[in-house]
């Protein structure tokens, strides 16, 4: 019986999985995997140009275009930086949050999206507590949708701003990061002034981060920041180490893509890394999971001594919000190796580029 079955099984050609129709709109950014390497380069380039542009000139790029920010979850950094980014390009923005809108009365995401489109929204920036919500919104509205975080799934602009932060400190030759070489703001105008700017690498390729290792630490299971970075960074050649306890980092995470490895010993992971990205324990997504916080801090808190002992030159990153004294100590968050506020600042530049792309995208939009 089994022999016969085996011979049949060799001939099995099951139905193929259909190709994804997403993204429908070339200006959409739903996942870090939507972007080709050229598309990523383009966004990084535009981020630098727009950041350095005269605000009065920049203001005309999207003058009076309408952008809706639809937020089903609270947010400080993402919401503010998207809003500043859109306004910085001259767009009109409107914020719809779940607690002060008809969402509270039971209006569906589809109807909310269609309503915003009818009101003239030309792009929607969506933060939602359900994984995949941005795909639903795009399918129903066919507008450019920017995923500003969907449940536990993705947060592509965070990964792009993290990449920009890493590239600002990266020595292209040695792949070492230089935390001390922090870019100090300052508007730079005209081509000649470009030299005043520190070495931002805006042209990326499949080997730009070859030889570079980053450790992402903590609540990987519930982290959209982790998933987007795990999607984006290995495409540039980076090695991603995931570190955390089993409850927050299931073994299956290692199969999420190429270049991803699990290293549960934090000190060991630090020793191999040029950058370390700390994540917050997401109490709102733990779903009854009991976690021994004292034990967690013992094993995974990034402290001054731990950093000094194992990664004295690594860049310290955190997508925020930070819970000081839990995943990082105050000293590390405020320390010389910390790029946390620089990440926040890069958010505005990246989001200007992404909002601009949403409203001006050519047919392929740098799609992967």
């Amino acid at each position: 019986m089994n022999a016969a079955v085996t011979s049949i099984r060799r001939q099995l050609h099951p139905p193929p999985v259909p190709a994804s129709p997403f993204p429908y709109h070339p200006g959409s950014l739903l996942s870090a995997s939507d972007l080709s390497l050229e598309g990523i380069s383009h966004i990084l380039n535009r981020a630098t140009i727009l950041e350095n542009a005269d605000p009065l000139v920049r203001d005309r790029i999207l003058a009076k275009r309408r952008v809706a920010l639809l937020f089903y979850e609270s947010s400080t950094r993402t919401r503010t930086s998207f809003e500043l980014a859109a306004k910085g390009l001259g767009a009109d923005t409107t914020l719809i949050s779940s607690l002060s809108s008809s969402i509270e009365k039971g209006e569906s995401l589809k109807d909310t999206g269609l309503t915003l489109r009818a009101l003239g929204a030309e792009a929607i920036i969506l933060r939602h507590n359900s994984s995949g919500a941005a795909w639903l919104l795009e399918a129903e509205t066919r507008l450019p949708v920017l995923n500003a975080g969907d449940g536990m799934h993705e947060h592509p602009t965070q990964a792009l701003l993290d990449l920009r932060t890493i590239l600002a400190h990266l020595d292209p030759a040695t792949k070492a990061c230089h935390p001390e070489r922090v870019r100090r703001g300052g508007r730079v105008e005209g081509p000649a002034a470009g030299k005043a700017s520190p070495a931002y690498i805006d042209e990326i390729a499949a080997d730009t981060l070859a030889g570079f290792t980053i450790t992402i630490v903590g609540d990987i299971q519930h982290s959209r920041v982790a998933r987007s970075n795990m999607t984006l960074l290995p495409r540039l050649g980076a090695r991603v180490l995931l570190c955390g306890p089993k409850e927050l980092l299931p073994d299956i995470a290692a199969s999420a893509g190429p270049g991803i490895t699990i290293e549960r010993d934090f000190n060991e992971a630090l020793r191999q890394s040029q950058a370390v990205m700390m994540l917050r324990i997401q109490a709102e997504r733990l779903a009854g999971l009991q976690l021994d916080l004292a034990q967690y801090k013992e094993n995974y808190q990034l402290t001054g001594p731990r950093l000094a002992a194992h990664a004295p030159t690594a860049l310290v990153m955190h997508p925020g919000p930070i819970i000081r004294g839990l995943e990082v100590t105050a000293g590390v968050a405020d320390g010389a190796q910390s790029a946390i506020l620089e990440q926040v600042k890069n958010g505005v530049a990246i989001r200007m580029a992404v909002v601009e792309r949403a409203l001006t995208a050519s047919q392929d939009g740098g799609r992967a």
Binding site: V5, L12, V17, S255
Partner: protein, 433 residues
């Protein structure tokens, strides 16, 4: 009742061992005569169906459908669900009890069977195993059986408690009913919306581990073993994991009366078909890994699977146009089961036509003890499907006879086009318009 002759067709009746050109006379709701082409003795005056070049087979039987009545007529009614069934070649469906109210009483069972429901084909209610399908107190199976119930189940929910499941198996066996288990250890599937694994991690969704299914199947088999009563019949609904199939296979080798069904989506699709949150690929049990899917195909081909059942689960469009985690479980299946089974099991994987039809008719009839169905032997019910086994066609969900169109098979190529579906001698569906 008028008589009906099906002339010129090729009769495939696996239960009767017939696979030959035959003419058939249907009279008074029964099969009256079968003879070689042109040889019927008493066909005078009968209405004639010209089945030249077509296959004639016992009407299909789906032992697992959700007709949504009473209570959720906006998703489906008994009339629309059975119309879709007839279009799919089915002449009998077994209706699951997760209605509103739950069908846990003879009154509800009889209400479903009343002529006012307008069923196009035969409906066989399956009653709730426990009161309200809450898994706490078992129902009066003798009363449910005399009202028309053909099996008991809490489908949609498992019977989780060992003691209650043991009691259910024993009590159902005493009145000659099968127990159909929705095998899901819900303690392991809280908040989950797809199969656990790499795809769920990638999509940021909580996953249902395969062990949630296989663990409960193993528990149930242990209970059947302990009962030592040969009348006990455990049937595993919508089997989706290789481990659960292995447990069923093993139980069968030990001589236990443990059977199982597999749905077309579980032998064709995998978790990859969830794609980017396609809610029409969300059901419970969920689409599993490729290895699990391959195990379904293998078990169907080697005979471990007893029936193909659709788990037809209609939902309104607005209910599926939501965030994946918030979408209800289930897909429609009555109009696509034959077309998919013939396209894949028969054409692609070379399963003989008779065996495919048997999984869709004779075997489910035997599992539910439906006497006189699943065969076209003289004296049987005149439940017939006449179809072109070679015809390829494309399924268009917008043309469905169901009230809902939540299917992942929209636009798929089907094989085997139904020409007529005849229920107890009446034409329930015809594609002749």
């Amino acid at each position: 009742m008028t008589a009906l002759v099906i002339r010129g067709g090729h009769l495939i009746d696996p239960a009767a061992g017939v696979d030959a050109p035959k003419d058939i006379l249907l009279k008074d709701g029964r099969v009256a005569e079968i003879a070689g082409p042109g040889k019927l003795k008493s066909a005078n005056g009968a209405e004639v169906i010209d089945a030249t070049g077509l296959a004639v087979a016992p009407g299909l039987i789906d032992m697992h459908v959700h007709l949504r009545e009473p209570g959720q007529g906006y998703k489906e009614t008994i009339a629309t669900g059975t119309a879709a069934a007839a279009a799919g070649g089915f002449t009998a469906v077994a209706a699951m009890p997760n209605t509103i109210p739950v069908n846990d009483s003879p009154e509800t069972t009889r209400w479903m069977l009343a002529p006012e429901r307008g069923a196009a084909i035969r409906v066989f209610p399956i009653a709730a195993a426990t009161r309200g399908s809450k898994g706490e107190a078992i129902n009066d199976y003798a009363a449910l059986k005399s009202a028309g119930a053909v099996a008991v189940t809490d489908d949609g929910h498992p019977i989780l408690k060992d003691g209650i499941m043991r009691e259910t198996l024993a009590a159902a066996a005493r009145v000659g009913l099968s127990v159909i288990q929705h095998a899901e250890d819900t303690r392991l599937t809280q908040g989950a919306s797809m199969n656990a694994g790499a795809m769920a991690f990638k999509l940021g969704l909580r996953g249902m581990p395969p062990e949630a299914e296989s663990g409960l199947v193993e528990r149930d088999i242990r209970l059947v073993t302990e009962l030592r009563d040969t009348r006990v019949h455990l049937h595993v609904a919508h089997t989706s994991t290789a481990a659960a199939l292995a447990a069923v296979r093993q139980a069968r080798r030990s001589g236990l009366r443990v059977t199982c069904e597999v749905a077309p989506h579980h032998f064709l699709l995998t978790e990859e078909h969830v794609g980017f949150y396609n809610t029409n690929a969300k059901m419970n049990p969920p689409l599993r890994s490729a290895a699990d899917r391959d195990a379904m195909i293998e078990a169907i081909l080697d005979g471990v699977v007893d029936a193909i059942a659709t788990d037809h689960a209609p939902h309104a469009v607005h209910e599926k146009e939501v965030e994946f985690e918030n979408a209800p479980n289930g897909i429609t299946g009555l109009e696509t089961a034959l077309g998919l089974s013939l396209r894949w099991l028969h054409k692609e994987w070379r399963m003989p036509l008779g065996r495919v039809l048997s999984l869709l008719s004779a075997q489910p009839a035997a599992l539910l003890n439906l006497k006189g169905r699943g065969t076209l032997a003289v004296g049987s019910f005149a439940d017939v499907v006449v179809f072109d086994p070679k015809a390829e066609w494309t399924y268009n969900a917008r043309e469905t006879k169901s009230k809902s169109r939540n299917t992942p098979f929209d636009g798929w190529t089907m094989q085997g086009k139904v020409g007529w579906t005849i229920s107890e001698g009446r034409i329930a569906y015809s594609n002749q318009a």
